[in-house]
């Protein structure tokens, strides 16, 4: 009988055998489970029995026990060096969950308090004739939503072409100053928003060119929005394979047609993400709008005529009034802003998802 010889190189193990390090001993699993549960139970028991403050319990009872438990597990698994390993795991998870709890509290309080103010009439009506202590059945943020959309929409119209052209310069050309521009854009992303507002105030309002108006607000948002749009669209253009560009150029297309007809369509969904993230960056900006558009209590559709309300300035105005009703309105406006941001983010996610599936 003929013997079959396997000529392929050493066969790689398949399945569970292929990653021996992913098999964890039962002893380790049990120890980890114990170390995760026992300190929590002890802490809760102390909390219920003695009734001490939660933070005191956390730091005086739970954390020490948890650290000791994790160190013991570390010793069990790795030997003496395992002490620090256990410590690292505890510190990492503790720090991460601490900040997640704080951020969760922000979201929860906005949703819980804001939903009490939210109604169709709150979204639709404007604020004319509304005093700080008027009951919530009257008036709303309708005029502020319209104002926000107009102001942010105008800045988007200006910023997106600028950001896209900047991204073109950063990805499609051999300019020598690319590094400088990129560094400057990143530095601009940390521009204090109040400075941007002061800039437009100094340039147009203090010099008497105009009074408070919607378009000055749009201008004040541009320096804040530009870095985000430029950076994200740069990433999007970078993801387009070089072969596509070369192919277009080799067929004789001039650079601008190659970009418009090949590169840009290929990066379309990334561009959508860039626009949406840029809008999300500025939709909640307060300080520049307080300095440039001021506040108004009725609907103003004219960007060039008179003060214009927006969601952040509405929120800003009602926080400081100090009545229960006005604070309720502030929470409602906060919830509306957060809903807008969430919608923008989800859309951006969906847009970038179609990009990855299309590439497969």
């Amino acid at each position: 009988m003929e013997k079959i010889i396997d000529l392929s190189p050493v066969a790689r193990p398949v399945g569970r055998e292929s990653a021996p390090w992913s098999r964890i001993q039962l002893k380790t699993r049990v120890a980890v489970a114990f170390a995760s549960v026992v300190p929590a139970i002890l802490g809760l028991t102390v909390l219920l029995l003695t009734g001490i403050d939660f933070m005191a319990m956390l730091f005086a009872v739970f954390l020490p026990i948890q650290v000791i438990a994790a160190a013991l597990v570390g010793v069990l698994v790795y030997g003496r060096r395992g002490v620090l390993e256990g410590l690292l795991v505890v510190v990492t998870i503790f720090c991460a969950s601490f900040i997640v709890v704080l951020l969760g509290s922000v979201l929860w309080s906005v949703i819980a308090n804001g939903s009490q103010a939210l109604s169709w009439q709150f979204i639709g009506q404007n604020n004319y004739y509304i005093k700080p202590n008027t009951s919530l059945e009257y008036g709303g943020v309708g005029h502020a939503i319209i104002g926000s959309l107009l102001i942010v929409g105008t800045s988007t119209l200006v910023t997106v072409p600028m950001g896209l052209a900047t991204a073109v310069y950063l990805t499609e050309t051999q300019g020598k100053t690319k590094g400088l521009i990129r560094t400057l854009l990143q530095a601009m992303s940390g521009l204090p928003s109040v400075v941007s507002g002061l800039f437009i105030y100094a340039a147009f309002i203090a010099s008497g060119i105009t009074t408070y108006a919607g378009w000055t607000g749009s201008l004040a948002l541009i320096p804040l929005m530009l870095p985000t749009v430029a950076r994200v669209s740069e990433e999007a253009l970078r993801l387009v394979p070089q072969e596509l560009r070369n192919g277009a150029l080799a067929l004789g297309a001039p650079a601008w047609r190659a970009f418009m007809l090949v590169t840009l369509p290929a990066a379309r969904s990334g561009m959508v993400t860039a626009v949406l993230l840029g809008i999300a960056r500025v939709i909640g900006e307060t300080a520049p709008l307080v300095l440039t558009t001021f506040a108004a209590d009725r609907t103003n559709l004219n960007l060039f005529g008179g003060a214009m309300a927006s969601l952040p300035t509405y929120l800003f105005g009602f926080i400081s009034m100090g009545f229960d009703e006005s604070i309720q309105r502030a929470w409602g406006a906060a919830l509306v802003i957060m809903i807008l941001v969430a919608i923008l983010f989800t859309t951006a996610r969906l847009a970038s998802r179609t990009r990855t599936t299309a590439r497969k």
């Binding site: 403050d53 933070m55 570390g74 790795y78 395992g82 390993e85 690292l88 998870i93 503790f94 720090c95 601490f98 900040i99 997640v100 704080l102 509290s105 922000v106 309080s109 072409p161 600028m162 896209l164 900047t166 073109v168 310069y169 050309t173 300019g175 521009i181 400057l184 990143q186 530095a187 601009m188 940390g190 521009l191 204090p192 928003s193 109040v194 400075v195 002061l198 800039f199 100094a202 340039a203 530009l226 870095p227 001039p254 650079a255 601008w256 970009f259 999300a280 960056r281 909640g284 900006e285 307060t286 300080a287 952040p312 929120l315 800003f316 926080i319 502030a330 906060a334 802003i337 941001v341």
Partner: protein, 325 residues
């Protein structure tokens, strides 16, 4: 040795789109103009703020304006000096950054190296979403939800560690202190630092981490000896970007801090502090023309200060990612 002149050594040509028509020249010109508009915007900001604040700098004196500590618009001649606010901004940003760094690195480490893939994906989305919470919403939360809780923490800190000078508090008022403002800033900048750190971690060469693990290193020694030394530059840059954001924070601090023109050097639990950005927005409403000039001057100081820190930060981040060239 002879060189064959007719067949020079083939050099691998680099394909590049060079402008070879008028339309192309226009296309690249527009791109270049847009790119340089970033520089123009920064210069314009500086120019307009300086033009409005030149008289203030001249009347108050630059050194006195920055390092003096009286701001009184009712005096005549008006006296405007910035130091308590400038120091307050620095103090709050330092508190915020010191608290934010371990949390942000923990989150980034957890997402990249500890969490299962699905959890990591959700966590990344959550961190990005958190970075988009508008600061005024954080201010609202800080003013009506968080202040009381944080004042309770401050009281316990003071009771336990009151003998250490920085936790001293001689009044009984723990509200509106730099500590609370610092915590609000922490909540704001953790997502920023975490997302940059996570990005740097995710671009690390997996082979050197696996090599460290294969040589018998555990998570702790891998983090300390391999990950942090390799990714350190980028992480530091991310931290500086967070610091820059904290320095410029305006409305989130406004509602949780008692702005007082009396330098609070280190007593972070006392109910007095300062912040340039918040001071500008709070004084702007009722400022006369002369005081507006002072606020513009304060804006110049803030702008130059943050620009330096941010430029330094982005330089470091860029250096830490040489593959981005």
């Amino acid at each position: 040795m002879t060189v064959n002149v007719e067949r020079p050594i083939a050099v691998r040509r680099k394909l590049a789109a060079k402008p070879f028509s008028r339309a192309d020249r226009l296309f690249f010109g527009v791109a270049k103009a847009a790119a340089f508009s970033a520089i123009v915007i920064v210069l314009l900001i500086l120019a307009f703020l300086l033009s409005r604040s030149a008289s203030t700098f001249a009347e108050q004196g630059i050194i006195d304006f920055i390092f003096g500590s009286t701001w009184d618009a009712s005096l005549s001649p008006i006296k405007m000096q910035l130091w308590p606010m400038l120091w307050g901004s620095i103090l709050i940003s330092l508190i915020g950054t010191v608290l934010a760094v371990p949390m942000a690195i923990s989150i980034a480490y957890f997402i990249e190296f500890m969490a299962p893939k699905r959890v990591a994906k959700v966590a990344t989305l959550v961190v990005d979403l958190m970075a988009a919470i508008p600061s005024i919403v954080l201010g609202l939360w800080g003013a009506f939800v968080f202040t009381d809780v944080a004042a309770g923490w401050s009281k316990q800190l003071n009771a336990l560690f009151g003998f250490i000078p920085i936790f001293e508090n001689n009044s009984d008022n723990f509200l509106r202190s730099p500590f609370i403002a610092g915590l609000v800033v922490t909540v704001m900048i953790v997502p920023i630092i975490a997302s940059i750190t996570r990005e740097i971690f995710s671009q690390m060469d997996r082979d050197i981490i696996n090599a460290s693990l294969a040589l018998g290193g555990n998570r702790e020694s891998t983090l300390r000896k391999v990950i942090l030394p390799t990714a350190g530059g980028g992480v530091v840059g991310g931290i500086l970007l967070g610091l820059g954001r904290a320095l410029g924070e305006t409305v989130a601090i406004l509602y949780v801090l008692n702005l007082v023109f009396d330098t609070n050097w280190y007593q972070i639990l006392e109910s007095k502090g300062g912040s340039i950005a918040s001071m500008i927005i709070s004084k702007f409403g009722e400022a006369g023309p002369e005081e507006v000039g002072g606020l513009m001057a304060a804006g110049v100081v803030l702008f130059v200060f943050t620009l330096i820190i941010n430029a330094l930060a982005s330089y470091i981040v860029a250096k830490a990612q040489p593959w981005r060239k």
